[in-house]
């Protein structure tokens, strides 16, 4: 064997904690998104609804504002579970567009450019990669859903006083939990589709398709077979049913949550939960199958 002069020195400097490394991925994704004017405009539009809802809460509690706007107490909107459900419904619909815009660009370019070995030939696992990519969506969608929702809840509680906070704590829980169910579901679905088709426009189209085409197909099943089980492939129905159980309120047609209204029928809530869990499991399977350091060519 040859004799070598060990002239090099390996890295012996400081390291960041292993759990924090996935946060490098959203950092670069946000920098890229900030460069997009369309994205910035969309994001500004997406906070309009919370501002309007905040205004409604404020007017509700300000006599001078009511006088100025010439609103009588009979015309006031009641700030209750339905009010927050409407906000959540509207904001969640906006996040669907966000997911269609941002989600497909997370994984598909890396797969199309064979960039996965670059990430995975580091002390960085497949799960961390998916978590890093997913956190882009999780952070953006949180800013659009549960964060404004809870801020409005706190605003209402502080203006209302008289134990309103304690009496309506369930609403806060429903906003938080309902938002996270939707955010996690939508993030997983958009990443899985992005990994599956490897082509951004197609993945975005498929995301919309999985909502609208599946809903139409489910409706057709219901009509032809005179059943309501077709709703199990209607994602907005599934989410709407879960939210209804969380808020203990029916979804109103024509409200801000119209996209998630429950179309009647009597699919049990637990079946809707199960359907959501199954779809998430399918997405995880797809991601674990597609996110590999080396492509397996059979």
């Amino acid at each position: 064997m040859a004799v070598f002069k060990h002239a090099y020195k390996g890295y012996e400097g400081a390291l960041t904690p292993a759990w924090s490394r996935f946060l490098i991925l959203p950092r670069y994704a946000f920098a890229e998104k900030r460069r997009s004017r369309f994205f910035s405009l969309f994001f500004l539009v997406s906070i309009l609804a919370p501002l309007i809802f905040a205004l409604l809460i404020y007017v509700q509690h300000s006599l001078s504002a009511m006088k100025l706007l010439q609103i009588g107490s009979s015309n006031l909107i009641t700030v209750n579970a339905a009010f927050f459900m409407n906000l959540l419904g509207w904001q969640s619909m906006m996040t669907l567009f966000l997911a269609a815009f941002v989600g497909p660009g997370q994984i598909s370019p890396d797969l199309a450019n064979n960039a996965l070995p670059l990430y995975l030939s580091r002390p960085f696992s497949r799960a961390e990669y998916v978590l890093g990519k997913m956190s882009v969506l999780l952070i953006l969608m949180s800013i659009m859903t549960w964060i404004p929702g809870l801020l409005l809840f706190i605003l209402q509680a502080s203006l209302e006083g008289n134990g309103w906070f304690g009496q309506n704590l369930r609403i806060a829980g429903a906003i938080f939990l309902g938002s996270w169910i939707w955010i996690l579901f939508l993030s997983l679905l958009s990443l899985a589709l992005s990994a599956w088709v490897k082509w951004k426009p197609m993945a975005g189209g498929l995301l919309f398709g999985s909502f609208f085409v599946a809903a139409g197909f489910g409706g057709a099943i219901n009509a032809i077979l005179r059943t309501s089980w077709g709703n199990l492939i209607n994602i907005s129905h599934l989410i709407g049913t879960v939210w209804t159980s969380l808020f203990e309120r029916p979804m109103h047609r024509g409200s801000g949550a119209f996209f998630f209204r429950v179309h009647g029928g009597d699919v049990p809530t637990w079946c809707c939960w199960m359907a959501l869990v199954l779809i998430c499991a399918g997405c995880l399977y797809l991601l674990s199958h597609k996110i590999r350091g080396a492509e397996v060519v059979r």
Binding site: M1, A2, F4, K5, H6, A7, Y8, K9, G10, Y11, G13, A14, L15, T16, A18, R21, I24, L25, Y28, E32, P109, D110, N113, N114, A115, L116, P117, L118, Y119, L120, S121, R122, P123, F124, S125, R292, G293, A294, V296, V297, R298
Partner: protein
């Protein structure tokens, strides 16, 4: 002291029913090791196994004593450069190196220092601020090498690193490999360019159809190929005389006088014996010998003998 070798212990990898590599036993010492073989011979599979990007169906792989299933330890010691152009969208050369050092776990100040060091080593400092997408093929290849070496690994696995490089860049890159290999690192290189493999390798691994056909220093491998007589070129003033004397011996298969009349190409089954004989003939016949050198003691010849003309580039 930990094992300084890369060890494959009876490793097989199948893709469904398709064979990747089969029953591979290797113990690769430090230095430059070239993986040579035609397309589909299993070079990239072997590299992916080393880097833990795929796992063996059977057997085990350890890198400097670290099993490939322990990425946190493994990738502190290993740098990998894929054969594909693989760059996240929109990054400059600097950001490319820097961001992956952060993914590697380096703190920001260290990442800045290591990025600058790596860029300097591949002579890319001046172009570091430009987007990778605007780089030439050679520059992309060099920036890929920079990301592989930036965290100062002991083992470098480089898949077709000379592809697309112009002759000047190729020479610079080969010089880097030699420097790294000389420092006692492992530099594992796969290449189709056999004469360059010959120039740089301390040892070679020849692969064909998923099997290791031969491994070791090229001279040792060549001497093991007994069924192909060794070719030795003797530059001398009287090649005809030499040829006549050599044909008196059994182990000389063929002798061909060079067209310039100043050399003789001899094919023999026993090179060591031929060298001894040559000494005697030179003394007896008063030949003026300029040079004696093996003519097929190189990767290209060994490749042709063991694998055949299946796709190596000379």
């Amino acid at each position: 002291m930990s094992d300084p070798r890369i060890v494959f212990d009876n490793v097989s990898r199948f893709y469904g029913e398709v064979l990747g590599v089969n029953r591979v036993n290797l113990a690769i010492p430090p230095g430059i090791t070239s993986l040579v073989g035609p397309n589909g011979s299993g070079k990239t599979t072997l590299m992916n196994l080393m880097t833990g990007l795929i796992h063996p169906t059977r057997g085990s792989v350890t890198i400097l004593g670290i099993p490939t299933g322990r990425p946190e330890e493994l990738f502190r010691k290993m740098g990998y450069c894929t054969q594909f152009d693989a760059f996240p969208k929109g990054l400059t050369g600097y950001q490319f190196i820097y961001s992956f050092l952060l993914v590697h776990g380096m703190v920001e100040s260290e990442a800045v220092r290591l990025t600058e060091e790596a860029l300097e080593r591949v002579s890319m400092t001046a172009a570091a601020g430009r987007p990778v997408a605007a780089y030439s093929k050679g520059m992309r290849q060099r920036i890929k090498l920079a990301q592989a070496i930036a965290h100062r690994p002991t083992v470098l696995v480089l898949d077709e690193p000379l592809n697309g490089l112009d002759p000047m860049a190729r020479n610079e890159t080969i010089a880097l490999f030699k420097q790294w290999g000389g420092e006692g690192r492992h530099v594992i290189v796969s290449s189709h360019i056999l004469h360059e493999v010959d120039r740089i390798s301390d040892q070679v691994i020849l692969l064909s159809h998923g099997y290791v056909v031969a491994e070791g220093q090229i001279h040792d491998v060549r001497s093991e190929v007994k069924d192909q007589p060794m070719q030795i070129l003797v530059r001398c003033d009287k090649p005809g005389v030499l040829a006549a004397r050599l044909f008196e011996k059994d182990n000389v298969v063929e002798a061909k006088v060079n067209s310039d009349g100043r050399g003789l190409l001899v094919r023999t089954r026993d090179a060591d014996n031929l060298y001894l004989m040559l000494n005697r003939i030179v003394l007896d016949s008063g030949l003026d010998v300029d040079a004696v050198a093996p003519a097929d003691d190189d990767v290209n010849s060994v490749y042709q003998y063991l694998i055949g003309g299946e796709g190596g580039t000379t």
